[in-house]
Amino acid sequence: MTTARDINTAMDLPAIDSSCGLALIDHAGKMISVNPAFLKLFALPPDVQNKTFAELTGAMNPVATHFLLQAIDGEHGIVSKRTIVIDNKTLTAHIIELNQAQRLMMVESLPASLFPTPEINHPARTPGTASLINRSMLSKHIANWKPDRSGTVTPAMLMIGLDRFKRINETLGHDSGDQLLKFTAQRLLRVIRSDDIVAHFAGDQFAILQINQNQPVAATTMAERIAELLKRPFLVNGQQVNISASIGLAILYQDTESTTDLIKHAELALYDAKHNARGGYRRYEQSLQQSASEQHELEVNLRRALFLQEFTLFYQPQVRMHDKKIVGFEALIRWEKLGAGIISPLRFIPLAEDTREIHEIGQWVLQTACREAATWPENIQIAVNVSPVQFESNNLKQIVQAALAASGLAPQRLELEITEGLLIKNMANALDQLKEILTMGVSVALDDFGTGYSSLNYLSSFPFSKIKIDQSFVHRMHTDKSRTLIKAVIALGSALGIKTLAEGVETEEQFDYLARNGCEEIQGYLISKPVPAEQIPALIS
């Protein structure tokens, strides 16, 4: 790069009459000097010195602004090269970092016909997320914004998050995930106005800055349109993929006082949308700060809970009806946080599934339950709940195997409880994994039967060891409907050779009814509530 350095010192750019556009730019993106060809390529006014590109063209030419911002924001590579199409011209820029403070940009225009690729022939098509600016560049844009004299327009930030994107990455693979991001970026670029700016934040998050429009109408209309557009199916790697997006809005002077808070507030609104209006949008309001920080705190605490050993397992006995003997225990997780008391699994399990923390938590539950059960008499079983999410990483079998090996528990004493939800989503893959687990000697029970889409199909598709009748039916046993269902499930079980267990049994009356109708096992307060490990010896003796 010696030639570049030489040019730098000796260079009088305005005097260089070449078809190649040349510009010397400082680290903040201000132009130090440019040649006439550069002005022409980007249709700039003659006096550009000490101005940034955004200031010069800003709203008028967002594509070029993205391009140049990217160019100067590039990491400290010595040379980088980028190509875009502006007004049917294909521009290629080489950026050379001369020193800490200065970059030299050389821009050439090539006739479109040199690139017979579809991208170039159809300027509306863009190469995807790589062509978008990032978070820090967007912040610069906002910082550069000056109020318009008439005062009727104000910037708005739309923060767009794809729902369940991680799951798509895990189930369909990263290549499909990347394609989805690319198409999402393209759809966004198609709906924006030419003076809007699209940025790709991390991973599954995009942002749109509307600069010159009447608010809040423009932002809410755009949010609705984007939510609708991203719900439409995508075609990825030979299959149809459906996703949705949640959107957070923050509008300067309406929701948010200063430009520096615009991104943060739009993100808080997105957070709220993801939890309370999935697939739709929310506008920022002050109360979000409070509830978001609570939810955030829960998330952070959950991440630490394993390390801080805040989880414990409680065990609820399962009793054989004919002799009322305890034949096993179901392991139930409990989270007790110092100062916060007990946090219900109904609250933290869905969150753990969302954040994927469930993988580690689930593994810990299996290990702990097996270790504990190994100290019990050999005729006592242990049942452990497994979340559908744990099947998504395709290594559940190894985790079960490791838990058994470490504890020395006989596989025949372990029963996994799964819910119908697992089978609905990806039945073939789930069944494959379950069959593998079965070959180790571990058994599998179907939990919460009757609450979901209960289908005979599931029951005959896999040799379940047990059907667990959901407690809601036992509690409503006084209604005909519940009684009919209970009887039907028991009959079905015995026809298929599958044991039935009723959950939530609290009264003798319920016990008698179930016994009369052939239910084999029960679980519930009538026998015992879930107890800590220390109390188990007393219960079984």
Binding site: E228, R232, F234, L235, Q239, Q240
Partner: protein, 149 residues
């Protein structure tokens, strides 16, 4: 996978407002663009319209269909797109048409809407066969449809 021959069949709801005249004009415009762009990306297929719904078949290389479909997806002239079928196929059945068209006064379109016939209940295969059969019939009969097609 990217160059393999695929077939896409989808349905969508028409959102073009206004008179029949207006709708007709928009559809003419869609067809004109489609024929030009599809020919350039080696896509063949057919479009059917029956006042409420569009049904479309696209045949071509996986990536070309993907790209075309993304453009179609962003079109505000329709909504509620339902993909009925997207799969690899051995051969093209619409190879004569970069975008054949069956309009709402045609027999085929009536068959879609015939009483008790819910478009959304139709399978991809059925739409595919209907479109194919009617385009051929129209061509044989030398009807004006072919001129548009």
């Amino acid at each position: 996978m990217t160059q393999d021959l695929y077939r896409l069949i989808y349905l969508s709801r028409n959102t073009i407002p206004g008179s029949n005249e207006n709708i007709h004009q928009e559809i003419e415009q869609i067809l004109a663009v489609s024929r030009q762009r599809n020919a350039a990306s080696h896509i063949t297929g057919a479009l059917m319209f029956n006042r409420e719904c569009f049904a479309q078949v696209l045949e071509g290389a996986h990536d070309d269909i993907q790209e075309t479909f993304e453009r179609i997806q962003c079109d505000p002239r329709h909504a509620d797109v339902v993909v009925l079928d997207f799969k690899p196929v051995q051969t093209r059945r619409f190879s004569q048409w970069s975008m054949g068209y069956i309009g709402y006064d045609s027999l085929a379109s009536k068959e879609f809407t015939a009483s008790g016939f819910d478009v959304k209940q139709l399978s991809g295969e059925r739409i595919y066969d209907l479109l194919h059969a009617h385009l051929y019939a129209a061509e044989k009969a030398g009807s004006s449809l072919v001129k548009i097609a």
